[in-house]
C-alpha cells in the first residue's frame, strides 16, 4: 500500500493513531502555554486539521510541528482523549523522514569523548537518545550516544547530566554560554505590572 496521504503516514507512527478523532473544539489550543506565552500563532488544533486535510507543506512549515514541548497540558483536557503531543511528535517524525530540515537546534554528541554511560539516555524526556555501536574515527567500533533529531526538543537536559561534556545543544546553549549568561539571568527583573 502506498501512503500518499500525510494523515495515513502520521497515523502509522505510534502516538499518531487518534489523529482523525479530532473534531476541532479548540480546547487544546486554549489550554496551550506556548500559545499563550511564546507564539500566538501556535495552534495544535490547526496542525491536526492541516494533517487531516493533507496540507503537507503547511504542516511542515507550521511552528506547531516543531515547538511543542509535550508538556501534555492539553491531553487531560481533550474531550476525545487524543494524545496531541504524540500526534505532533509523529508529524515531526514524518517531516524529518521526508527530508524537511529541523528548524530548531538539536542536541549533538561529541563521539570522541562519549563513553556511552547512558546517563543522557535515561534523562531524555523525549526518548530521543539511544546507545548505538558506531565506527568513530581514531577510536574504532564502539557504542556511543546517538540523538534522533526527529524526537529531540533541544531541552538540554542531556547536556546537564553528561559527565564528560560530550552531549548538549551546541548553538547558543553550550555550557560555556550558559555560565556566562548566568549572572545576567540572576538579576531581578523589573516587574511587568
Amino acid at each position: 500500500m502506498s501512503l500518499s496521504r500525510l494523515a495515513d503516514e502520521v497515523r502509522l507512527i505510534p502516538g499518531g493513531e487518534n489523529l482523525e478523532m479530532c473534531y476541532s473544539c479548540g480546547t487544546c489550543t486554549s489550554k496551550c502555554m506556548i500559545q499563550q506565552k511564546v507564539d500566538g500563532e501556535f495552534n495544535p488544533r490547526r496542525l491536526l486539521r492541516l494533517i487531516a486535510m493533507d496540507m503537507r507543506e503547511e504542516a511542515y512549515a507550521s511552528t506547531t510541528t516543531w515547538l511543542c514541548s509535550a508538556c501534555d497540558l492539553c491531553y487531560p483536557a481533550c474531550p476525545q482523549q487524543i494524545h496531541i503531543s504524540g500526534v505532533i511528535a509523529a508529524a515531526k517524525k514524518v517531516a524529518v523522514q521526508n527530508g524537511h530540515p529541523q528548524p530548531l537546534p538539536t542536541a549533538t554528541v561529541n563521539q570522541q569523548t562519549c563513553v556511552a554511560c547512558g546517563l543522557c539516555k535515561e534523562a531524555c524526556p523525549y526518548d530521543a537518545i539511544s546507545l548505538q555501536v558506531r565506527k568513530v574515527p581514531w577510536r574504532g567500533l564502539l557504542p556511543v550516544a546517538v540523538v534522533d533529531t526527529a524526537l529531540c526538543m533541544a531541552c538540554g537536559i542531556c547536556g546537564a547530566v553528561c559527565r564528560s561534556n560530550s552531549i548538549g545543544v551546541a548553538e547558543k546553549f553550550s555550557d560555556q554560554d550558559l555560565v556566562e549568561n548566568l549572572w545576567d539571568w540572576l538579576q531581578p527583573e523589573e516587574a511587568e505590572f
Binding site: 473544539c25 479548540g26 487544546c28 500559545q35 488544533r45 483536557a77 474531550p79 476525545q80 482523549q81
Partner: protein, 629 residues
C-alpha cells in the same frame, strides 16, 4: 398529570418503589414498597398548614437546592396527588404539624412502609434521566465559583414559580447579570465522562438564551459550542430566530474558566475556531449545559426488572430501529429518556407508542411467542434422578427455566425467547430447541461437509448479528472464500460444542464461531454464555493440537459485512498455509478424540432418523450432476 390523576382507570402511586418483579408477560407479580409519608392520603386536603408551622428548613431538591423547604412538604406546587409528606430524616418530632392539622387528623407518625403485591399485565418504564454533576470538571470551577451554574439551576432561576420568582440573578451578589455565557457539551461528547451526545442540550441552550433575551434584550448572551445540532422539524428555524435576536454563537470549547476574586466575574478562555484565535471574554454568569446521564439507580432498576443496559447505562431496547420502545423482556416497555437521552416530542411519541404496545397485551386473551422456544425431555434430565445440575437455569438470560433439584427442569414458555443457551449448555442433551434441534443442525453439518470436508470452513452464525453480517457481505458484493459453509442458529449461546466436535470429526478444515458483540446481544447475556463456551473450546482444541488457524472466534455485527469477509479470507489463508498432507494427518489424528466426545449423540431422540434422512439426501444430491455439495 392532573388529568391522569382524575382518570378513573389510572391509579397514581406516588412515593412508591418497585421492589420485585416476577412472572411474565400478562401475568407479572410486582411487589411495591409504598413508603410511609406520615400523612394519610385519604385525609390530607393539601392545605399546607403543616408546612407553615414546621420549624425545620432543608434544601429543596426540586429547586436545585437554591431554596429551602420544610420537613413537612410537597415536592413542588403542582404535585399530584396533592398530599403532604413528612421527611423523617430531618423531622425533630415537635408535633406542631399535628396541632396545625387539627380535626383533619391527617398526620400519623405511626405509619410504616407497606409492601403491596399487584397483578400487572404490562409494565412501562419511564424513569427518565439524571443530570451530570460538573464538579469533577475542575477547569470549569463549578462549586468553586459562585457564578458558575448548571442548566437546571438556570431553569429554576428563570422560572416564574422558582425561588427568585423568575428574576435571573447572580448567586454571588444577587445582581442581575448583563453578560452571560452558556457552555454546551459539559460532560457529554467527552470521553472522560460520557462519550455520547445528550441529544437535546443544543436546543435547550438556545431556548434558555431566548428566554433571557426576551426578558431583557440588553443582556448579552453567548453560546459556546462544538457543533450546534438542530435536526428536528422547526429546530433550525428556532436556531435562526436566536441568531436574529443577537445571541452570539462562538464555536470553540472553553478550556478554562477563571474568576476575578473581587467581582466574582468570570473569564472564559477558549479558541474561537472561526477566528482561529484564542479569545478571553469576561462574563457575569456562566451556565454549564450539563449532560443527561442515566438515573443514579438505573443499575438497580435494571436488575429488578431484568432488562439489559446499553453501554452508556441506559436501558436497552429490543431493537434500535424496529422496536425502540420494547424491552428485550416481553411485556416491559420503555418511554422517554430512560432508554436514551430524548427531547420532549420524542419522549411523548415513545410514551404513546409504549402505551399502545402495552394495550395490545391488556386486550389479548392469548399471546403469541417465538416459535423457537426450548423444551425439556423430562426423562433425560438428571435433576429428576436427584442429581444437582442447574446448568440450564444459569445459562438462561430470562429466568425462563424452572429448576429444582429432584424434579426435571421445565421451561416457562411465555418467558422463553428461544436463544437456545440452555440447549447447548445441557451436558445430558435433555433440552431441545424447537426448529433448531440438535438433529437438524447436525444434519446440516453432515450435508455441508459431505465432500472434501478438509477444504471447507464451517461458519456458525447467530441470527441477529453475524448472519446479518454475512448477508451484508453478500449484498455488498464483498468477495470472500467460496469454501465457507454457513449455518444459522438463533444466538451464539446455541452453538453447542457437539456441533464443532462433529464438524472436526467429519474432517472440516476450519470452524468459525461467530455472534454479536457483547453489548449488542439480542438475548441480554446470550453472547456471554456463547463466548465462555467458545473460549473453553479454544483451550480444548489447543491441547488437542488443532492448528491455531482452524478454530476462530469472532464477534461480527450485522453492519460489519467487510469484517465477515475479511475474517473468512484470513481463515482461508491460514488454512492454505497448512500443507494438505499435514492437515489430513491432523484430522485423522484428532478424529478418535472428537468421536469420543460424541458417543451420546445417537441417543438423542430423533437423531437416528435425521441422520438416515440426511444420508439419503446427500446421496441424492451427489448423484445429480452439477450440484455442488
Amino acid at each position: 398529570m392532573v388529568d391522569a390523576a382524575r382518570q378513573p382507570l389510572i391509579e397514581v402511586k406516588a412515593y412508591t418503589e418497585v421492589e420485585k418483579v416476577e412472572g411474565f408477560v400478562g401475568n407479572f407479580k410486582v411487589t411495591l414498597r409504598e413508603k410511609a409519608k406520615y400523612v394519610r392520603a385519604d385525609r390530607c386536603n393539601g392545605c399546607g398548614a403543616c408546612a407553615k408551622v414546621c420549624p425545620i428548613e432543608v434544601p429543596n431538591y426540586f429547586e436545585m437546592n437554591l431554596a429551602p423547604r420544610k420537613a413537612a412538604y410537597i415536592p413542588m406546587s403542582q404535585s399530584v396527588p396533592l398530599v403532604y409528606n413528612i421527611d423523617m430524616d430531618t423531622c425533630i418530632h415537635c408535633y406542631k404539624c399535628v396541632e396545625a392539622c387539627g380535626p383533619l387528623e391527617a398526620i400519623d407518625f405511626s405509619m410504616k412502609d407497606e409492601f403491596v403485591d399487584e397483578e400487572i399485565g404490562a409494565i412501562i418504564v419511564a424513569t427518565g434521566f439524571g443530570h451530570f454533576d460538573p464538579s469533577p470538571m475542575e477547569e470549569y470551577g463549578y462549586n468553586r465559583y459562585p457564578n458558575v451554574i448548571t442548566s437546571m439551576e438556570m431553569e429554576r432561576l428563570n422560572n416564574s414559580a422558582g425561588p427568585t420568582a423568575g428574576s435571573l440573578i447572580r448567586p454571588s451578589d444577587g445582581k442581575k447579570p448583563q453578560n452571560l455565557a452558556f457552555i454546551n457539551c459539559v460532560g457529554s461528547r467527552d470521553k472522560r465522562f460520557n462519550e455520547s451526545c445528550s441529544n437535546f442540550c443544543c436546543m435547550y441552550a438556545i431556548k434558555n438564551a431566548i428566554l433571557v433575551k426576551q426578558m431583557n434584550p440588553a443582556v448579552d448572551v453567548s453560546i459556546y459550542y462544538m457543533d450546534i445540532r438542530t435536526p428536528s422539524k422547526g429546530y433550525e428555524e428556532f436556531y435562526n430566530r436566536a441568531r436574529a435576536m443577537g445571541i452570539h454563537f462562538i464555536q470553540g470549547r472553553p478550556a478554562m474558566i477563571t474568576e476575578d476574586p473581587e467581582t466574582h466575574n468570570l473569564f472564559l478562555h477558549s479558541e474561537d475556531i472561526s477566528l482561529g484565535k484564542v479569545v478571553e471574554h469576561e462574563y457575569d454568569l456562566v451556565m454549564l449545559n450539563q449532560a443527561a446521564v442515566p438515573q443514579p439507580d438505573q443499575n438497580h432498576m435494571s436488575s429488578v426488572l431484568n432488562v439489559a443496559q446499553s453501554p452508556g447505562g441506559w436501558f436497552m431496547e429490543y431493537h434500535p430501529k424496529l422496536r425502540p420502545m420494547d424491552s428485550p423482556t416481553d411485556g416491559i416497555f420503555f418511554a422517554g429518556a430512560c432508554q436514551g437521552p430524548k427531547d420532549i416530542p420524542a419522549s411523548v411519541a415513545q410514551g404513546s407508542a409504549a402505551a399502545s404496545r402495552a394495550s395490545r397485551i391488556l386486550h389479548a386473551d392469548s399471546w403469541q411467542i417465538e416459535p423457537t422456544i426450548a423444551a425439556v425431555w423430562p426423562d433425560r434430565c438428571v435433576s429428576a434422578q436427584g442429581k444437582a445440575c442447574g446448568l440450564c437455569e444459569r445459562a438462561c438470560p430470562y429466568g425462563a427455566i424452572d429448576y429444582e433439584q429432584g424434579r426435571a427442569a421445565s421451561v416457562i414458555n411465555a418467558k422463553c425467547h428461544g436463544c437456545g443457551g440452555c440447549v447447548a449448555e445441557c451436558p445430558h442433551d435433555a433440552i431441545t430447541q424447537l426448529h433448531y434441534t440438535d438433529a437438524q443442525i447436525l444434519a446440516q453439518i453432515r450435508a455441508l461437509l459431505a465432500t472434501e470436508p478438509h477444504k471447507k470452513i464451517l461458519a456458525l452464525r447467530c441470527h441477529w448479528c453475524s448472519y446479518g453480517g454475512a448477508d451484508l457481505a453478500g449484498t455488498s458484493h464483498f468477495e470472500y472464500t467460496a469454501n465457507e459453509r454457513g449455518i444459522k442458529v438463533m444466538c451464539s449461546a446455541r452453538m453447542d460444542s457437539d456441533f464443532i466436535y462433529e464438524a472436526y470429526r467429519l474432517g472440516a478444515g476450519g470452524v468459525l464461531y461467530s455472534g454479536c458483540h457483547p453489548q449488542d446481544c439480542h438475548y441480554i447475556t446470550g453472547q456471554i454464555v456463547g463466548a465462555k463456551r467458545a473460549k473453553r473450546l479454544e483451550t480444548i482444541f489447543d491441547r488437542m493440537g488443532i492448528s491455531p488457524g482452524r478454530f476462530r472466534i469472532e464477534w461480527i455485527s450485522a453492519a460489519e459485512g467487510d469484517k465477515y469477509a475479511r475474517v473468512l479470507n484470513e481463515m482461508q489463508a491460514a488454512l492454505d498455509a497448512i500443507p494438505e498432507s499435514d492437515l489430513l494427518a491432523e484430522i485423522e489424528r484428532t478424529r478418535p478424540e472428537m468421536a469420543k466426545r460424541l458417543t451420546r449423540l445417537p441417543n438423542i431422540p430423533g437423531m437416528q432418523k435425521a441422520m438416515e434422512q440426511t444420508e439419503v439426501l446427500v446421496n441424492t444430491m451427489l448423484s445429480k450432476k452439477g450440484v455442488a455439495a
